[in-house]
Amino acid sequence: MTWRIGIDTGGTFTDLVGINSADGRLLFHKVHSTPHDPGEALCTGVRQLCAREGVAPAAIALLIHGSTVATNAVLERKGARTAFITTAGFRDVLVIQRQNRPRLYDIRGRRPAPVVPRELICEVGERILGDGTVETPLAAPELAAVIERLRAARVESVAVGFLNSYVNPAHELAARDQLARGLPGVKVCLSHEVIRSQGEYERFSTCALNSYVQPKMQGYLDRLCGQLRAAGLPDAPFIMKSNGGMTTAAVAGERSVETLLSGPAGGVVAGLRLAADTGRANLITADVGGTSFDVSVIHGGRPAYASRSEINGLALNVPMVDIHTVGAGGGSIGWIDAGGALRAGPQSAGAVPGPVCYGRGGTEPTVTDANLVLGRLAARSNLAGGMDLDLAAAREAVRVRLADRLNLGVEEAAEGIIRVVNARMTAAIRKLTVERGHDPAQFSLCIFGGAGPLHGAELAEETGMAEVIVPVLPGVFSAFGLLLSEMREEQMQTWLKPLAGTDAAELAARFDALAREAAVRLGAGADGARRHRVDRRLQLRFQGQSHTLAVDVPAGPIGLAAVAAQFHAAHRRLYGYTFEADPIEIVTVWAVVTLDTPPTPTPPYVPAARPSRIGERPVYLEGRMVPTPVHDRFALVPGTVIAGPAIIEQPDTTTLVLPHQHAAVDPQGNLVLRSRPRT
């Protein structure tokens, strides 16, 4: 039982990465995704991988699956027919959201439709106050009438969200009992169980999203387990969550909302391992895909977490790795705006028709076309699944659409697309560093994704970062992250209380209660028998402020003074000052329980015994075509230092080393790019 296999389902391809947990041997496979039934591509992919590599199904210890079923259900509005029951007088909280327009000057901009049509949002007499006291008891007859309506409407699931249920969930629990009797077999989801925090719109929206995707996710996972059993493969896959952890298919079938936006989390988990392996504390992870650029921060060896986010314009408040996404990638299209400025994206040529040089009908010049024109990308490349790229078509598209209209040379215009898209990526990186009080000079940029290593060098220089790290396998780095994931459950609860005068023992008890709840879901047993570790976090603010700051609470007896000191330090880092004397308020108590899973070893890097220098080609750098040596990455021996300008090729990506830079191969085989001091 030594193999772990990660299956990352994407829009066009499903990437599989297998690792032998004894010796770290890596296997890869790629199959076309089957959106109509993603399980099909998954099983085919695993079967083919095992057959090709002679791995017996019995030798597979763990299947970890990054699924987009829930995300797609929301984006394409193909979730369950679900109803929402709420406090009388508040039927439209989901519709009104927070009352503001998505875009300031866009009078035609519409909020995306909630996942529950207004006709299925029902009101019931009940009211609990902010301090938990019951002002109006739950009107069972009214609920009974609602149940009748919902039976007639043949709903597949019901979400229940009452005001202040995060303080006193009694009415939500009572409603579930009555619903269970009235609508047997219909899944009921209570808002306080999804996320027990203040803010009715965010809580109700997250609960409705779970109710909307849960039946579909459950159906998919049941079918998947069946397909796996039929294929003789282990039938208890683990599912990747947006907090970078993973959970059992059973829990994912219940709390499906936690798998939304889990795609990019794999890259962050892999980034954490790279940081640990190379002894670095501060890392920016940047995933350059075809259409999107996902960025996250690892500071002091820990990822940044967010508890407020949104999907397709709908509030989604679950603990997740804080990832900032902008529409910039290999497929971003270069165009000229009304004022004559050269723009790049956010429109993208996507997978179809794709860049012009893919020859699948694309007419608009993209970032990939520009990289080809500049010589950074080779015409013979595996990026597009191993086909030749049409350089002539790319040059023509750049000339006709951009160069001639801007009276620039073709290379100059192509370089313009790259510099403009880099500027948008740089802005995204600045949002997570500079805007949060982090100094980019103390960070390294870990760049991955197919198109990433072509841009890493310039991005690091523009953001002022000291070095760029190109992992050994940038093309499947986030799929590799699936293999490193650990079983993790989180439990948050709003607890509004002044920090000063809080009884440390009571606070510790609250942490323990939340940790126990999460541990049970983790299957660590009520008594917490299976070895696991608990991380404790508090969200704090000055009384009067709204935005909170998260502070880690180390194990052992809780020192309130230390917590306050940490808060002041974080406030000073973020805003440049703090109010030492002002009262601090606890907002949320947050417990994270992670099951100790046997660590997956980082695969050792063994260079191929063949010459590393494989040729030379002209590359457009600093305004002219420069003959640039080309190296075969997997032939580079650790310790090798390559002076820029240089191109380093490997099957799934290409790395650009700028003239005044050098690339060094570290013991794990990572490429570390640094700028030479300007002599």
Partner: protein
């Protein structure tokens, strides 16, 4: 260099006479009697070295003044330089003296790299960190490529072809370790130099003899290198001095010096004359040893030094056989199943009296402590700044090192083997 070394222990009379000339040969100043088998980290020091150092060091006034004392200081320095040339078998020309081998490495490699943007520096996984890191740092600083020749995992040594494969018309310099301070693997310097010159006549060939210098005769001129570097404290002198002989073309390369000085002058400022006198004391000792072991005794100092080095090599070869294969009923290092030797198993072929081994399931730190408690001084090499890259290439995280010198005796080897047997005996 290719025929296996003859084995011949010093005569029973000569052995004590040799040990008597060394400080603390028999016992440690703090812990008393022990077998000192950590010579790769810096051998014992000759008594005569301190005498000479004190004598010349005490002379008032700097060299170059017109008075007897100043003239004696100048003489001692010149004599010291000449003795370095004699020891290395180097032609007349520049003798560089620096703080350490590492300092020499940086100065020599920078001279080779300056102005060669776009070129490359070739080193190897067997290089000591002083040369390995210097190549990396200077390549990065001056816009060159550093190429790393893989070591031969089976022999723990460096194959000339592995180095030659990486050399081309843009190679600015090649660093070659003469013998590994970890595996004891010895490099065929002449073969490497010949192959490099054939493919890259312009490349400077810099040999690191810090480990080899005490174990075998150096023939710098003969093997065709541009520089041969060694640390004086590793051949029985005091620390703070490393010497190198430079070919004319290397000496002519741009390097740090006072404006007015001649191009071939590489010394930076006044050097401690005591250091030069100390090394002359070492050569005097070798001449004494040569006279004891060669019949008839050669007339010239170089001949005597050569004779001494051959005698040293033969004595150490005999000790090596004893250590590997055991004697008088004592099992050798290779006899123990739990012991893995990293490097050449044949004590006569391409290796020196330095052995890296590991014991299954036993952390090296604890092993060194256990041997220490049994009066056998060893050392372990771990994946640190010094040995990380070499150990990674060998595919191992840490090793214990036992390294012999010509003043060691068969009895001291037996003490090691006894301690090893006791440690491996089932509890």
């Amino acid at each position: 260099m290719s025929d296996p070394a003859p084995e011949k222990l010093f005569s029973p009379a000569l052995q004590p006479a040799v040990r008597e000339r060394f400080l603390h040969a028999d016992g440690d100043p703090f812990t008393g009697p022990r077998a000192y088998l950590e010579n790769a980290g810096g051998g014992l020091t000759l008594k005569a070295v301190f005498a000479a150092d004190q004598r010349v060091g005490a002379l008032p006034d700097n060299a170059g003044r017109d008075n007897p004392a100043s003239r004696e200081v100048g003489r001692a320095i010149q004599a010291g330089r000449a003795d370095v040339a004699t020891f290395l078998g180097a032609p007349a020309g520049t003798i560089l003296s620096e703080q350490s081998t590492t300092a020499c490495a940086f100065r020599l490699l920078e001279a080779a790299a300056l102005g060669r943007r776009g070129g490359n520096l070739v080193c190897s996984q067997l290089d000591h960190a002083s040369f390995y890191d210097a190549a990396g740092i200077l390549a990065a600083r001056h816009g060159l490529e550093r190429r790393v020749a893989p070591l031969n995992r089976a022999t723990g040594a460096l194959d000339p072809d592995a180095v030659a494969a990486l050399v081309d018309a843009d190679t600015a310099a090649v660093t070659v370790i003469h013998a590994s301070n970890i595996t004891g693997g010895r490099t065929d310097l002449a073969a490497v130099a010949a192959r490099v010159r054939a493919r890259a006549p312009q490349a400077m060939i810099i040999a690191d003899g810090a480990q080899h210098a005490q174990h075998g005769l150096v023939d710098a001129a003969g093997c065709g290198v541009d520089a041969y570097v060694f640390s004086a404290y590793k051949i029985f002198s005091k620390p703070g001095f490393a010497f190198a002989c430079l070919s004319e073309r290397l000496a002519a390369r741009p390097h740090a010096q006072l404006a007015g000085k001649a191009a071939a002058d590489w010394d930076l400022g006044t050097r401690d004359p005591g250091g030069f006198a100390a090394f002359s004391a070492v050569v005097d000792y070798l001449c004494w040893l040569g006279a004891q072991t060669a019949a008839p005794a050669p007339a010239d100092r170089r001949g005597l030094v050569a004779a001494a080095m051959h005698a040293i090599e033969a004595h150490e070869a005999a000790l090596s056989r004893r250590l590997l294969h055991g004697a008088d009923g004592l099992p050798g290092l290779l006899a123990h199943a739990r012991v893995t030797l990293h490097g050449q198993r044949d004590h006569r072929a391409g290796r020196e009296a330095v052995f890296a081994f590991s014991v299954a399931g036993a952390p090296t730190g604890r092993l060194v402590q256990e041997f220490g408690r049994r009066g056998v001084i060893l050392h372990d090499r771990v994946s640190d700044a010094y040995s990380g890259h070499t150990l990674a290439a060998l595919g191992v995280r840490e090793v214990v090192r036992v390294s012999l010198a010509h003043y060691n005796t068969p009895a001291e080897v037996d003490a090691f083997l006894r301690a090893l047997r006791d440690l491996l005996a089932p509890a």
